[in-house]
């Protein structure tokens, strides 16, 4: 592929300048259509021409043949004298018909022609010839077509017709056909050029948008004309694709920003603590305390990284968990049991309601971790004296595992957002936590082909109901 200019070549793109119109595919297509169009027009016009011209010529011949037959009959009935009289009679009345009756030696007896045409005398074939004719005092040479009738005794009768008008008509017809052809080609060519230019301009808008995006302007979009044709659909699809890419990039940028932001803080604290400890006069006890804090902080950082890695692996499908049949209720009871003392210590009433025979395809550790995260949140955010309920039951969309608390809840507008990595609502900023808990739950649930829903409590009181819905395993 040739590059249109070095600037485009450098960016690895090709644009279509108007001057290179001849090379474009649309123009080539227009040319092919034009050729097809011309050929079919040629066929139609040719057919019309040959049919019309041929019909007129045939009619002339038919007339001459009929007249010869009629005059031959006349000769048989009335003899030479009668024939001569008829020829004289007809020569006087007819303007287009030509007659000449001669003796054997060529002397004219009657008719409106001066002499026998030089052409093949003595044959019975068709003769085309020119003859002089005076119209309105002007001598003109007219074309004529005739046929000879040989009579006994060497007499010859030439019957013909003036074909000047016919030939003029045919010439006109030819000219008309040629003009029509020329106009067809001209219009076709002009139309093709205009059409391909128009098409190119629209393709060029897509190209221009693509170049703009490659140059770094991710907000560029292809203009849509609203005609709903294929090019418009292409533009709509390209725009949709660009929206999706921008969304993904935004999400990635957001995550990267968050990682940088959320991990820089602890690392900064860690360094400051170590620096301050180093600067202080040697005090083994202080050093020890600082190191212990540092270890704890490093551990928290590593945990954050582990969680991030696990989420990324789950999202990428790398953690293609080995799903086996699991008793959802038992899993819920086990995790709830692990958390029961913690809830009690927080002054919360933890209740467990599980239905029997809830079988799902799952990975026990991942699902337990997901539920543990939900319980962790519920216990963390529910004020003393509140309640937390873990329930497993069969729902409309599959098996539901829910954790309901009587905490502050999450505003409806934020329920989608809090499932993103590192997103922590203003209200929870001061609490410990990585901001990865719900992201991990969502990732785990997705790997299981389920969904995580955050909703209002079913009884309408304040609180949050976090529901993990997994497809029920067919028995």
């Amino acid at each position: 592929m040739r590059r249109c200019c070095t600037r485009c070549a450098a960016r690895g793109t090709v644009s279509v300048p108007r001057s290179k119109l001849l090379r474009t595919s649309t123009f080539r297509l227009a040319l092919i259509y034009l050729a097809l169009f011309t050929v079919s027009a040629l066929c139609v016009l040719g057919f019309v021409y040959w049919n019309t011209a041929g019909f007129i010529a045939k009619q002339t011949d038919e007339t001459i043949r009929a007249e010869i037959t009629g005059l031959g009959e006349q000769y048989r009935v009335t003899g030479l004298t009668g024939l001569t009289a008829v020829v004289i009679e007809r020569s006087r009345n007819q303007r287009e018909s030509l007659y000449l009756l001669t003796t054997a030696d060529g002397r004219p007896l009657a008719g409106n022609l001066d002499s026998m045409p030089p052409a093949p005398a003595g044959t019975a074939g068709w003769i085309d010839f020119a003859y002089g004719r005076t119209v309105g005092g002007v001598d003109l040479e007219h074309q004529a077509r005739a046929r000879l009738l040989l009579l006994p005794g060497g007499f010859r009768l030439l019957v013909g017709r003036d074909v000047e008008a016919r030939q003029l008509f045919q010439r006109r017809l030819r000219e008309t056909v040629l003009w029509a052809l020329a106009l067809t080609v001209a219009f076709g060519l002009a139309g093709g050029v205009l059409m391909s230019r128009r098409l190119l301009r629209r393709v060029e808008t897509v190209n221009a948008a693509a170049r703009g995006i490659m140059a770094g302007d991710l907000t560029r979009r292809v203009a849509i004309r609203g005609s709903g044709d294929e090019l418009d659909q292409l533009a709509v699809n390209v725009n949709a694709m660009l929206d999706r890419i921008e969304q993904l990039l935004d999400a990635m940028r957001q995550v990267t920003d968050n990682i940088a932001h959320d991990l820089r803080g602890p690392l900064h604290r860690l360094r400051t603590r170590l620096e301050v400890t180093l600067a202080q006069p040697e005090d083994p006890q202080a050093c020890r305390a600082a190191l212990e804090d540092t270890v704890a902080e490093a551990e928290a950082l590593l945990n954050t990284f582990n969680a991030l890695l696990l989420i990324a692996e789950l999202d990428a499908g790398a953690q293609s968990a080995q799903l086996v049949p699991l008793d959802f209720g038992a899993l819920a009871r086990d995790v709830a049991e692990l958390y029961a003392p913690l809830a009690e210590d927080h002054g919360l009433a933890l209740t467990v309601e599980t239905a029997d025979g809830l079988t799902v395809a799952g990975e026990r550790h991942l699902l337990s971790q997901a539920l543990s995260n939900l319980l962790d949140n519920a216990i963390k955010y529910t004020p003393r004296g509140g309640e937390v309920c873990v329930a497993a039951r069969r729902g409309a969309q599959g098996c539901e595992l829910s954790v309901t608390d009587s905490g502050p809840g999450i505003p409806a507008a934020d329920r989608e957002r809090v499932q993103d990595r590192f997103v922590r609502l203003e209200a929870s900023r001061h609490r410990t936590g990585s901001g990865l808990g719900l992201s991990l739950v969502r990732a785990v649930v997705r790997v299981h082909g389920g969904a995580l829903r955050l909703e209002d409590r079913e009884d309408g009181t304040a609180g949050l109901r976090a529901v993990v819905v997994l497809p029920a395993r067919p028995r």
């Binding site: 212990e292 270890v295 704890a296 551990e299 590593l302 945990n303 582990n306 953690q319 968990a321 080995q322 086990d334 049991e337 692990l338 958390y339 003392p341 913690l342 210590d345 990975e363 550790h365 337990s368 971790q369 543990s372 995260n373 962790d376 216990i379 963390k380 936590g433 990585s434 808990g437």
Partner: protein
């Protein structure tokens, strides 16, 4: 206790060897699979720590060969691969425990001690005794100085694990793995609450506490010093 570490990251090995020696162990190390196999078969070790990813001979293969040669020395796998199937693959190859990197040194130490001590312990004993605290594994009765202590089933399992590893540090992760069979770390230390309940039951009303918290590491059930 003699420990062999087969790990190709020189920095990590240096710290591990230093840490183990300071904890009173004898530690050797090999930096690739072949060396590790040679040292494991010629030396006499109580525990072998093997990284799964090794230059030359792969960690899994190394342990398979050791086991094929009839060696029963406990093996602890170290690995950056923490998926459940990776863990299963390690244990199938003949590993006795599996620790996912990055890990805390205290975790490594506790697990090495648990593995080394387990060798001698008889699993068939029906009674565990730690300084007046007695556990009858058949009747599932627990008494301390003759006083009966009522335990929940999970508390019983937890105490049994602690008693079997009496005198050793048991980490929170180890408890989660052996008592609850979970291979993940919860965001909050739920284990601490369980321990304090257990402690209330076995130590309250007695002069000398048996269940100790080891800062930065875990817990230890031992006789008062």
């Amino acid at each position: 206790m003699r420990v062999l570490i087969v790990e190709d990251d020189a920095d990590v090995v240096r710290y591990m060897v230093k840490g183990l020696r300071e904890s009173g162990m004898v530690a050797d190390h090999a930096v690739d699979g072949e060396d590790g196999l040679r040292m494991a078969t010629t030396g006499s070790y109580d525990v072998i720590v093997v990284d799964r990813m090794l230059p030359g001979l792969d960690g899994l293969e190394l342990v398979r060969r050791l086991r094929a040669g009839g060696m029963a020395t406990p093996v602890l796998f170290l690995s950056a691969l923490g998926k459940v199937d990776d863990r299963v693959a390690g244990l199938r190859a003949g590993g006795d425990d599996y620790l996912v990197k990055p890990f805390a040194f205290s975790e490594l130490l506790a697990r090495i001690e648990a593995l080394g001590r387990r060798r001698g312990a008889l699993d068939t004993q029906s009674k565990l005794v730690v300084n007046g605290l007695e556990m009858d594994l058949l009747s599932r009765e627990v008494t301390r100085a003759g006083t009966r202590i009522d335990l929940q089933p999970r508390e019983f399992t937890m105490l049994e694990y602690l008693m079997r590893h009496a005198g050793q540090v048991v980490t929170r992760t180890m408890l989660l793995e052996h008592v609850w069979e979970y291979h993940f770390d919860p965001q909050t230390n739920v284990i601490d609450v369980h321990i304090s309940r257990l402690r209330a039951k076995i130590d309250r009303g007695f002069d000398a506490p048996l269940l100790h918290t080891v800062r930065g590491a875990g817990y230890c059930l031992r006789a008062p010093v």
